[in-house]
């Protein structure tokens, strides 16, 4: 259980705070409600590039990292399709340094030409390291536009291509900042050795005077229902094994269906007693590795299966075996002990995630972003209520051929 308080400042900034006296540290987590889905389709990868620029210094703190380091802290950030998240962990006595740094860059980020040019280069090297030089690194560059035709989830956070990153101008940077990096588009969550009241006072002190932006986002294009199976084959790849990817459109993070789909993915591949692992990896040896998971995006996301084929196994055999396992959900209800097992495992995972204050800060920010802070302690119950019948209905709807996109990634 995460005990927390929630407040909204006059400028629209939301604060969630949890006190954890088991650590001498505190984490200040700042989430901005902007991700790669909010980008111009001609300039993708921008939200992530901007995340890099947020470390380029601000009016009173020209060297962001140096200030964190001098406070004995550490910091980092990540960008998703939905949001951009920054966190600083410092000894609790230095919480004001963390708040000052976040407030200063929210109020007055320095946007220098030099910083932009350098970070473009850094991001392009990141692109190469993660997506081009790594085996299977380019899978999602191909899979996203296959599964999504209209919604901006069709491009990855790193961007469609190196050229898109190269195109970013100082004007793009400025307008992006003024639009999205405003207190009314942000959530601050704090967890660690600090009282809730004290945290609120300090947040008011540092952020209270930053004016809101009042920007209203235009609604994003809705992905139309998929009506035909899609298929893409990539050949002659410099990899050791063929891989099979299948995606199915599913509900958004807050839909009831999300929980059913998540349980289905756990039944299939979470743990060594899961169905895909036992039957297709161990017993039949068709795959050397096989996973099923949900993307958990804010807008309707994907149910994903990805597997590496064992040597000598044909793609046709592998695909048939996987589909048989997915179809079993529609024909046979899940047994009581098997369902109990997965729910127990999810509840244990939720407990384990509450050990660490950084995780807690992240969880609070994420649910507030989704507009559902009541779920911070409410997910266990949602999972506990799921029945075998609901899973069967969800699976029938999910695993329809016309709802699927298949990518075959074939070795040289």
């Amino acid at each position: 259980m995460i005990v927390f308080s929630k407040h909204t400042l006059d400028n629209g900034l939301t604060l969630l705070c949890n006190t954890d006296t088991g650590t001498p540290f505190v984490t200040v987590n700042t989430l901005y409600k902007v991700g790669s889905r909010d980008e111009d389709p001609e300039k993708t990868g921008f939200a992530h590039l901007f995340e890099h620029l947020m470390f380029g210094g601000s009016e009173n703190a020209p060297d962001f990292d140096r200030e964190v380091q001098a406070a004995g802290g550490e910091n980092n950030a990540y960008t998703t399709n939905d949001y951009t998240n920054y966190y600083i962990t410092v000894p609790a006595g230095n919480i004001e340094t963390a708040l000052w740094l976040e407030a200063d860059r929210m109020a007055a980020l320095t946007l220098s030409r030099k910083s932009l040019d350098i970070q473009k280069n850094v991001v392009m090297e990141e692109y190469k390291q993660r997506y081009l030089n790594a085996p299977y690194g380019d899978v999602w560059l191909a899979l996203r536009p296959l599964a999504y035709r209209v919604h901006p989830y069709r491009w990855p956070t790193i961007g469609i291509s190196l050229e898109h990153i190269e195109k970013a101008t100082p004007e793009d940077v400025r307008s992006f900042f003024h639009r999205f990096y405003r207190p009314d588009n942000a959530v601050i969550s704090i967890s660690g050795n600090i009282g809730e009241k004290e945290a609120l006072e300090k947040v008011k002190k540092w952020f209270g005077e930053i004016p809101p932006g009042g920007y209203r986002k235009a609604p994003l294009p809705v992905e139309p229902e998929q009506r035909d199976p899609r298929r893409l084959v990539l050949e002659e790849k410099p990899v050791p094994a063929d891989m099979l990817f299948k995606t199915y459109h599913m509900g958004s993070r807050l839909s009831d269906r999300f929980y059913c789909c998540d349980v289905i993915s756990d039944l299939l591949s979470n743990g060594q007693s899961s169905r895909l692992y036992l039957r297709l990896v161990k017993e039949k040896g068709i795959f050397s590795e096989l996973n099923a998971y949900v993307t958990g995006d804010s807008d309707p996301g994907l149910f994903v299966c990805s597997g590496a084929l064992s040597e000598g196994v044909g793609m046709e055999t592998a695909e048939k075996a996987l589909l048989e396992e997915l179809d079993r959900f529609a024909s046979e209800p899940v047994g009581e002990r098997e369902l109990r097992k997965v729910v127990n495992k999810i509840n244990a995972r939720l407990k384990y995630s509450e050990i660490n204050y950084q995780n807690k800060a992240n969880t609070m920010a994420l649910f507030e972003f989704l507009g559902a802070s009541e779920l911070i302690n409410g997910e266990g119950e949602k999972y506990g209520e799921i029945t075998a019948g609901q899973l069967q209905t969800a699976a029938r709807e999910l695993f329809r051929p016309e709802n699927s996109s298949t990518l075959l990634y074939l070795k040289k």
């Binding site: 650590t23 550490e74 109020a107 030089n133 085996p135 161990k282 244990a348």
Partner: protein, 424 residues
Amino acid sequence: MKKAPALSEPVLPKLLPHTEELLPNGTELVVVNDPNQEVFKLDILYESGSYYQPQPLVASAAINMLAEGTTRHSAAEIAEWFDYYGAYTDHHSGFRQAELNLFSLTKYAAETIDRVAEMATESTVPPAELEVYLRSRRQQFLTEKQKTAWMARKESNRLLFGEHHPYANQVCEADYGRVTPELVRDFYRERILSGRCCLILSGCITSEIKERVVRTFGETLRPPYTRETPVHAYAPAAPGRYNIEKPDAVQTSIRISKHGVRLPEKEYAGFLLLNTIFGGYFGSRLMSNIREEKGYTYGIQSYNVSMPDNAYWCIVTDVDNAYTEATLEEIRKELDSIRREPVGREELELVKKYLHGELLREIDGVFAQTDALKQKRIYGMDNDFYATLLAGLKKTTPEELLELAQNYWDPEEMYVVTVGKTRP
């Protein structure tokens, strides 16, 4: 606009107390209790790392096969049991030690501890399960082997320790076909059922948990090893540039290495500080120059790895093929500069503060503290090490750092490995 708030004084580490005792069969038991948790962890440490194996992959197979079948339960039954109770088991195989870990809710301790004890003492190594395990590991190996960073690490270890030393990664594809159930069972009997074993309990440890662990692990007979501990001699190569050509690479992995400093050595505190300044944190000289100034790379680090009887230090980065030589030149300039001029006061103070926080984070919470303790025990130390280390850092001077840099970082003594596309 608002100016920087004042910084508080660095706090000193607070450690949870730990107890150590010897069980009737010679097994060591360490307990780090934190009653505020609802979970606990059991680590079982064996002297069964790759150093002792008769051929590649046997040590890691032995520890991994503990989950794959016992005299009483099949692999599927074991897996289902832990999944049902929401518990995790894990395996690690290092150079010297191997570990079996259990992470579980305290309320299910009885169910999970008994089953882990069964895995540890009644492993059967079923041939079919071994085959599946090796097949999947082989596949992962074939993927890893394509990565330039993996190739660079392998080459560096070969240069540092010698081709035939277990610290060099000797695994080749054919090794996956040479591991037999008999070899694994023999190694299991010799190094996991016999000889030294240490149990570490951490998290919420009730008296029932402790008693159960003592009962299930403390009474079975543990005979001594029957074979002599092997002695592997080091055979380091000549320093210099070593290039491996990979024509399809987009980036080149650079790895520069040489011998480092072991944890118990008196220079350790100074060396840690020196390395942090040079390449050990986000604001390091290497990062500031090569990422933030030049934009050649997404990241560049240097770090020191301490082992029971050896240590190495290295610089690692991935850069576009076109930046390889320019990056090497910049690294060389940074090395020359840190060996020529004393570190400025301001930079030194900054890094001392940063490192203080970093070391406190290393022992933040019961599980981090236990992991740290596990490392220190290898050298016969405990987490009091941190107080000594922090005191050592505090009094280190720029002159001492200069001397360390001159002694340890002669570029002529380094192995410079590059893996990528260098020829047009």
